[in-house]
Assembly symmetry: D3
Homo-oligomer: 316 residues x 6
């Protein structure tokens, strides 16, 4: 089995060992040997413990709560790979952090997502593999090819199996409507979205729901859930609009920072379905949380890249 992947090695930063193991298992390969440490002075360190000369390297590092450490560790691994004559460096970043700062919302801000692209490029890499970027335009921040995967087929498969009646896929705001629509189409479900507006001037902003949710089963969907403030208040609105009690929440990236787990645990969702692009520590897990694995999709993507076969055909 290893012979099939003779010319590649798969390395893993310290951000998500569980996902790495799953992908390695999917591919039937061993994870590349890598020493990772952090000195007491705070500096990160990385050393390859095997020859990578002339081989293609895939490096997985996702963004966690310690995103700056994750990034610096990734940079150090990439530098070591480059200096050790890797034939190619493929960066696998299931959750691409700093993605929300993809434009200047106010004058004199950085464009952090472009900055990450520039930092990665300064070391040199050949491809980014990532999942559900916050904005499609982020692909244009890169000069390198980006294999942009989506968790939508995984969500679709999961909900299809449930065979839910009267399902409406709901986006939490207008900007996410397109993302929700893709899932609704796959599930042959109806579509709705929430948006905040002011029906008359000087009247308080209220949350509207476009589309019919009355007595419907709800699948609220977003690309990421950070502090969970907007999705839990969205649930309130949906109830107010008379949806039935089955409210599902699906999100690709469970950032779950600050009060997120608490809020979600108490909010009253029937299920919260996420993927494992980010590892959720045991203490942040709660009843009703369901984690679907991206490992088969990421593994298959790596396999096809290695074999120089189409990725887009995976998503037809």
């Amino acid at each position: 089995m290893l012979d099939t992947y003779y010319n590649m090695r798969f390395f893993c930063g310290s951000s998500h060992p569980a996902l790495c193991n799953e992908i390695a298992k999917y591919l039937g390969i061993e994870i590349g040997h890598l020493s990772l440490s952090q000195f007491s002075c705070g500096e990160s360190f990385a050393r390859l413990e095997e020859s990578i000369r002339g081989k293609e390297a895939y490096v997985l590092q996702t963004a966690t709560q310690n995103i700056n450490d994750d990034l610096m560790q990734l940079f150090l691994i990439m530098d070591a790979l480059k200096r050790s004559s890797a034939a190619a460096i493929h960066v696998v970043m299931p959750y691409f952090g700093y993605a929300r700062q993809d434009k200047k919302s106010a004058p004199r801000e950085p464009i952090s997502a472009r900055l990450i692209s520039d930092l990665l490029s300064s070391i040199g890499f050949d491809r980014l593999i990532t999942v559900d970027l916050h904005a499609d335009q982020i692909q244009g921040f890169f000069s390198q090819p980006v294999d942009h995967l989506t968790a939508l087929p995984i969500f679709a498969e999961y909900f299809s199996a449930k065979n839910l009646k009267n399902l409406v896929v709901v986006a939490p705001d207008a900007g996410r409507a397109k993302f929700a629509k893709k899932l609704a189409d796959r599930l042959s479900a109806d579509l709705a979205f929430m948006h905040k507006t002011r029906p008359e001037h000087n009247v308080a902003e209220i949350t509207n729901i476009v589309g019919n949710v009355k007595n419907k089963t709800i699948l609220l969907i977003d690309d990421m859930v950070d502090t969970a403030g907007s999705v839990t208040s969205g649930l309130e609105t949906l109830k107010k609009y008379g949806c039935n009690d089955e409210i599902y929440l699906a999100t690709t990236h469970p950032v779950f920072s600050g009060p997120a787990s608490d809020r979600l645990a108490k909010a009253g969702f029937k299920e919260v379905i996420v993927t494992n692009t980010i590892d959720i520590p045991q203490k942040k897990r709660f009843n009703g949380l369901k984690i679907l694995s991206m490992a088969p999709l990421l593994g298959e993507t790596i396999k096809r890249i290695y074999e120089k076969r189409s990725i887009s055909s995976l998503f037809l």
Copy 2:
């Protein structure tokens, strides 16, 4: 007066002489001397007819129907400026073409807006000055500073003067809602937007209007109007929803390609208000078209850049 601008020169590509003249007048300067031509074999040519050594150059070129010729001419002017020892090259592109192809909508597409950024960068320039980019993320396609102006204050001033009653600012789709909201806030007007949805599965897609337009005066707004298909069909929907007869259309970039002028002339708008980021030839003009000038804003921006003063304070 010229002494004030001793160390700069303002050059103009052939895409919009009227706007150039207005800006030059605003600044009280002469336009830089430049020979432009196109040979019978189709090749463009440019030659500076004065010394630019050590001076800051501002070059205005907007995108027209001949966008590829406009771009190549701009590139040639920039190359000539660089080789003639200009101290800085500031590109003024009121309408930034190719902006809608800012992401891959389908696999294996180019990201044209990023490509334009790369082409400009390969020659070398110091700043882009542009108006109402189709997506804010396009700023992140550049490593150079982008002075991103907006026509909204100009529209706001124009409509404030009309003192319209019961005004609702309407965005033609959800993606433009944020743009519309900024104008609504400036006008203390209500906000609404249209969106296409499918109320039930297997039912034809219909256009909804979010917000109340009944018996209201309408200001439909978009960043650009290309063939005018969606805004004219939007007008039909608005009428169906019972708005009153005063329907205004405002758009920053009057691309007006193909049937646009015909459609707009016949659609029944009370006024169609545009800016002059793109020149509208006489034969494309129609009754009810009102062109507001960006020249004072662009001129003031150039002035402030030259004097190293804040641009963002222009938009407070």
Copy 3:
């Protein structure tokens, strides 16, 4: 047959479908699937309709009367190829436009040929394949390898077969003498060239002919013919110097802009021999025009590049 070229794909811009088909036929391959269009607003668009992941891409685009559109379309195809993980991008540009502006003839001009090189490089490509560059120095404008082909063997073969007596190869000016000499040597023909001089000061410039053309059969040769002004006036001079009635004109690149076809049709050449580096529309063709195909040479070059074999040995 396709198996031989398993790892490459040949794409064609819209500038010269006939040449593309011939080359594909020579190689025994299908042309790569590519959607090309131009929107009503003037913007070009390109989308690959098949996977290019890990394959070598060859893209043919020559310069036509719409050279700026040709170039932008080429850039978009290249951007799509890069973002779709092509292993290499080989640009095939049989006629390299903007080649005559290869230096500053006057102060403050661009060097357009270098600019084209910079624009191509900003996207990224691996090699240029081109034919009879206007100046050999243009190769030095590139950092990438340039496979610089010549049509001279094709012309030599064509004229050898005619077995013409008393043949003199004539260059239209001193700068082209070297190009003409290479052909003369292959044909064992005599050489001459025209040049303008002023025999005494304050006497009008006249065209001289260096070498003996009296009662000779003439083969006038140039790398390109644009408006055909100089070659038709050259023909007059040759007649005045007493050459016989058989005057042939051979040129690699039939730019044929403006009055060229008319002039050539009426000038009195026995034959005008060109190659198909540029497509000549039916209405520009005339009696006596003979088009020799570069397809076998270009096809063989692509084949050898793909097989990593020497190109220069093709021209021994």
Copy 4:
């Protein structure tokens, strides 16, 4: 006073506010307005709160225990400065972290110090101002000018004032001998250094002292003290060799990680003299710790850079 520095602004990352304040005071200027924050998801953020257009920016960020956060924050500030049209970006990094990984000590390691240089360069900056780099060669990792300051004159002044008799400056290992020698020369003191050797093969490594320390007052010096292991064991050796009880330790960079403070507090140094290139939190301070300020030197350096005057003459 502010008029003098009309064309520059001094910004401070969050790593060392006290030093920033001191420098600002030295220069008689206000610190630039900058919003810094870290979101609950771990992402850093920075926004300039004033116009920097056309001004020179100096940004101070030193390396602390949270070096990866410090670096990412610095990168974001730099990106914001670049996009806000700063005329120049001068990075002031009193302690340059990751400096010890300046070579591959074993195969397949990164060269972290070069990596930091590459990351900084990818954003763009004009100069690095830093103090006592771990190896002089690190200057060669940069293409930009490096103003490399040293704390030695400050130490020299401090010890000269003490007028110590029988002083020997001691380096903790051979590699630091040159650094120690420069101080010894300034103090007209004797020089010694420690080194580990194996007097005979198969005999345990012992620490030797080169030079005479018997009954001498000792000034042990190093560029940085991290966990303080080697300097405290060095003190033991010095005592064994019969130095007198007055043992001083001087170090430019008080990294003081892990057990450092404890060790130093108990080791028996008469004084531990450090500079404030790194902030030492109150709980890490101990009796006998003396902090000398680099602020006047850094301030004077900034002043001279701004005034385009020589820095090296500061150290004559």
Copy 5:
């Protein structure tokens, strides 16, 4: 006088001290202090002996017989300038060596002139000032501005003063005709050129002269004279064609390698007029050699660049 040039410094490599002194004298400035040496192991070395911080540096280095040493020394000076915070680096290379290898004359050759441009660019510089490049296209090898001076006005002035009758300016081959023509026009002289041709096939190549030289005074002109083979044989031909005894040779760059001086001394020229772009050692000088100084032109060019005034107007 020094105040005028407060913000610049003029440095000189070791290739041509006499020219440097003349230029410094023209400008009324002192030459910048620079230590230059070559170690016994063959390595070159350079150190600036004064502060260049924030100043514009002009560095003069011409190509001599030791061109590789000249270039490496220039690179080292440039590196020192860059690292010492020079505001700009202007390279003054009166004779640009390696210029003849400006294209591939045969397969698999380097393009040396482009290589030199790449090497200079890798260090970074702002402008090249040079005289009479071998081919105008070499300007296109640079992305930086090139101030391309010519010695023609100096030759014109020199010969005008002689008031020669019946003067013909002669180019040694067709490629140089354009260069000769510019001088002929300035002198209101006739023009001729030599070229080698083969009047009939299988007949030996002979040198023709185009234009009338019979009983004329001759001014043979070339951009450079290397071994002097072609100009001395050219003189024989001119005599054969019956020119009178007054034959002048003018050349910008007196490379004078190998047998050049001997040949020229004996050839029978009335005068050999050269410029001092290259220093001619005393032992290579001969009777009839006349050296015209480029110092005023180079000095005036530096002056105007410093003052940001037009250079091209110098040559009207």
Copy 6:
């Protein structure tokens, strides 16, 4: 045998033909065909005499007394390789010249070693193979992989075979101690080093020896010997300290410039062991000089790079 190396070619600059031949013999391959010359005007020239299209090129050039010529020739070969479509360029520089100028020892010096890296990078190459760099940090001057070989195993093998009793490996100064220690460990020998110090202030600097050399056999070792001043004076010191008469000197790079050979011949070393990273001309050789070949190690390294196998395992 050639089939094994089908896809690579080994080219040799003119600096060290003997080493090239040995390596070629080791690999069982022919040396690539290359025309090298130097024109009488001093310019270097190189032309490949065979196709390198798609092949990996290895180019050997070491630094000699004519290091500037060596470097320029190398650059020209690399440029020719790049333009001839080599798949990769591996630079083999056994002795990396300019390595001692790896930092600024005084203000306003160049960092020559970094400069060489920049010049090489501007042409483009894929890897540097070199031996015993003067400082390990020089690897960080490169962005490309550096295969850094060492002669230590060769010295170890040579001296092991001698089976010397009471051997001490001695470094000539503290900076070289680490290099000497590696050899001492391989030979199970004792270690010592010399250093200059001033035991009391105002007393003349004397050379100390750390470690016991009394009655010992000495192996003095350094990475390079240039003028041999320090090693011959070191020998005097060693004798003064009572070592026995057997004093060996080993050095990787026999630069041997100026008086080196004379000094070494007369100094009284029992043997001077060097490698052939630099060719020693016959007239510089002397009794007791022993040259060990690096060819097998360099050949094996090339072999393993070509076969994409580990190099570090060569040195375990």
